[in-house]
């Protein structure tokens, strides 16, 4: 190799590396420090992909609504203080799409580069499990508002900074099993159609186990496992039709759920059968006449159409409809209660007008009981880091004349009835027959 060419090669290479490093530096200094007297919250939820429409965007909208309303002091008592503890709230919104590895990177960016004071977010269970250790490591108050995996507090056994203000999917399915047993006592055969990934696999495992415990004489006649996002269920519907169950359980959500209802309805799958949709509340406004009256819907808690009447809900629901032209579904409610929980915790510990520290926030939130549009939220499990709330199921009724959908025969199951106690694995608790459950 001639030395002349090689020397210029040297220089070019080194200059390329230097250029890259200075690009990095430029990007890092471009980020604002959060020492601007505002309370900065990072909100991470799906803004693209299949989960954006049913979950991510309603949640993001709810966050925008809450932050704006809080900054203007418009939220009813006890949240009348401006922003958080008198400080204006600044929100950084991030897309949760792209996979868990990327989300861990973005989480660190949020905390270390953009210096947020708290993080609220995460719908996907995979993202929650990946972020959980990082939240503890970086010492930033992190609230999981929606993810349904029961393993969050197995991965982080003694949380200090990590909280979940929503319920996991185990309680949905235990409550569903109770509801079906009470509302459809003659069900003998059940079938399943779930999206073939963690959410669907766990939902069916929990429901089948719980139902077989409550009604041991029942039998599973068919299990269908289409791919997530498959959209067309011709073969699955045929298989379900042929097996002729009394009840079909599905944890489908979003476009898949609506497609299933449409295709199944057109093929008479739901004639003389009951369907349980554990995430069905998000589709209530879209179903119209396509879904049979009597379909059992769940909302993962007292949210959306299941929400109670209280001052906060009387403000939240009309404000959301006015701004976003659609009713708030359960992701919107869950985001709202995460933000309100953060506010309540921060204001409990800090002196008025001062910037709440991370330790003040986590001490305030642990074990807190606070009000939200969905009712009272008790942070009562996992040493005060996991919320306890009731779960409701009801039957869908559509009035063709008025075009309105309502829920009838609503039954609510208290948290103490359907949540396994701390330290007990859900499967073990179900198999043992729900010992210690306090149902009314």
């Amino acid at each position: 190799m001639q030395s002349k060419l090689c020397n210029s090669h040297h220089t070019f290479r080194l200059s390329a590396i230097a250029a890259t490093l200075s690009l990095m530096a430029a990007v890092s200094t471009g980020a604002n420090a959060a020492d601007n007297g505002k309370y900065r919250i990072g909100v991470v939820t799906f803004l693209s992909g299949a989960a954006a429409g049913p979950f991510g965007v309603p949640a993001a909208n709810s966050a925008k609504l809450l932050v704006e309303a809080l900054n203007n002091g418009k939220v009813p008592a006890p949240y009348g203080k401006k922003g958080i503890n008198g400080l204006e709230i600044e929100m950084v919104l991030l897309d949760e799409n792209g996979g868990a590895t990327k989300q861990t990177e973005e989480f660190r960016n949020l905390v270390q580069r953009q210096k947020v004071d708290a993080v609220i977010g995460y719908i996907s269970s995979g993202d929650c499990l990946a972020i959980a250790p990082a939240a503890e490591e970086l010492g930033v108050p992190t609230i999981f508002f929606d993810c349904g995996t029961s393993k969050v507090f197995e991965v982080v056994k003694n949380p200090k900074y990590l909280f979940r203000t929503g319920l996991d999917s185990v309680v949905d399915n235990i409550a569903a099993a109770h509801y079906v047993a009470e509302a459809r006592p003659n069900v003998k055969t059940i079938a399943s159609i779930q999206q073939n990934y963690a959410w669907g696999q766990e939902a069916w495992a929990d429901f089948a186990l719980a139902f077989s415990r409550i009604k041991p004489e029942s039998k599973v006649v068919s299990e269908q496992w289409p791919k997530l996002g498959q959209g067309q269920y011709g073969a699955e519907i045929s298989a379900l039709s042929v097996s002729n169950p009394d009840l079909i359980h599905s944890s489908f959500w979003g476009g898949d759920m609506e497609a299933l209802m449409l295709q199944g309805g057109a093929r008479g799958l739901f004639d003389k059968k009951t369907v349980v949709l554990t995430a069905g509340e998000t589709g209530m406004e879209h179903f119209k006449g396509q879904v049979a009256n009597g379909t059992i819907l769940g909302g993962r808690g007292p949210f959306g159409a299941f929400s109670p009447k209280n001052a906060l809900n009387d403000w939240f629901r009309p404000a959301f409809i006015a701004q976003f032209k659609e009713s708030p579904t359960y992701p919107a409610y869950k985001m709202a209660q995460a933000i309100l929980g953060l506010k309540a915790a921060a204001e409990k510990g800090a002196k008025a007008g001062a910037m709440p520290t991370a330790d003040q926030v986590v001490q305030g939130l642990a074990g807190l009981s606070y009000e939200a549009p969905s009712g009272t939220v008790n942070m009562a499990r996992t040493k005060g880091h996991q919320a306890v709330q009731s779960v409701s199921f009801g039957e869908y009724q559509f009035d063709a004349k008025s075009g309105k959908a309502t829920l009838t025969k609503v039954k609510t199951y208290a948290g103490e009835c359907v949540m396994p106690p701390d330290g007990t694995a859900p499967a073990d608790w179900i198999k043992a027959g729900f010992p210690g459950a306090k149902c009314n």
Partner: protein, 319 residues
């Protein structure tokens, strides 16, 4: 032994110098930057696997297969075999990926062009399907990888991420050096000949398939290492590591950096990470479009990748 004889070409001391600069930066740069670079350099190793095959004239749309096997090898060994040492874990992940390549490579290297791309894609999607189906492995949630120890020493706090960063820089430097040696070796040179005209290589008495097979296994080995490092750094593995859009990302970075020099994938990976973080932050609703437009612009105006900007002095390709 004089220094001149020790290095195969002046590229090598430059590589070592660059690695040293990156390593020294560990104490100076902000933590989020070190983490970004750790993931970027680990990804660059996988991209290097794609580049190795591209130099042979084959585009692999399924390199994520080995990335995923490397990651899951580390994760499973840590979780179920109780292996705690970072070096042992990485070795296990890399060996797993290499074994897979040895098993499939001979069949795959019978194909060229589109069929090769599609078959590699199919293999990676089969792994994806198997992982998603397996609820024992956590299905789409995957599982976490506990922080490793380094030959007995367990770092705490800041030192933990810093040590992983240094490990990644060290691995990247070693692989870059090794790959550079490979490129200037006879096997490396013949591989390029295979890309140009396979039949003539046959006339020379060599077996192109054997060359391609060697390249395939080498690429898998390096990609498995990249996957293992990612698993250790991010602390989490899931089946998305095997999905075809992940492979698409590796191909994107390969094009971004170019195939002309061993450093190109590393530069490409770093630029891509910065680009993507920026795109997500500034345009959370259109970051995919931003990436797509960038890719198109690259292909139209910079077909040899970013490296061609740096490399204007060299009139011809390679090494």
């Amino acid at each position: 032994m004089s220094l001149r004889k020790f290095f195969a070409s002046p590229t090598e001391p430059a590589l070592l110098l660059a690695a040293a600069v990156f390593a020294a930066g560990a104490w100076v740069m902000p933590a989020w930057l070190a983490f970004l670079l750790t993931l970027a350099l680990a990804k660059a190793l996988v991209v290097l696997g794609v580049v190795i095959q591209m130099r042979a004239g084959l585009v692999s749309f399924g390199q994520a297969l080995f990335y995923c096997i490397g990651g899951y090898g580390v994760g499973l060994a840590s979780q179920y075999l109780g292996v705690g040492d970072a070096f042992a874990l990485l070795a296990l992940g890399t060996v797993a990926a290499t074994l897979m390549a040895l098993a499939c490579g001979w069949l795959l290297t019978r194909y060229r062009e589109i069929f090769y791309a599609m078959l590699t894609l199919a293999l990676s999607m089969i792994l994806y399907g198997v992982l998603v189906k397996s609820s024992a492995l956590g299905s789409t949630d995957g599982f976490n990888v506990s922080p490793p120890s380094f030959l007995g020493w367990v770092p705490e706090g800041d030192a933990r991420k810093r040590t992983l960063y240094l490990l990644t820089v060290f691995a990247a430097g070693a692989v870059a050096l090794g790959f550079h040696r490979f490129m200037v070796s006879s096997l490396g040179r013949v591989t390029e000949a295979v890309r140009e005209n396979e039949i003539r290589v046959e006339y020379l008495g060599l077996s192109p398939q054997r060359m391609l097979f060697a390249n395939y296994v080498l690429a898998a080995c390096v990609s498995g290492l990249g996957g293992g490092l990612t698993a250790l750094a991010s602390g989490h593995i899931d089946p998305d590591m095997a999905i075809w859009t992940t492979s698409g990302e590796f191909v994107f970075i390969a094009i971004l950096g170019g195939t002309g020099h061993v450093v190109a994938p590393f530069i490409g990976a770093i630029v891509f990470s910065v680009l993507r973080t920026f795109a997500i932050q500034e345009a959370p609703n259109t970051w995919q479009m931003t990436l797509g437009i960038t890719l198109l612009a690259l292909i139209l105006f910079l077909p040899k990748g970013l490296w061609s900007l740096v490399d204007r002095s060299k009139p011809e390709v390679s090494a």
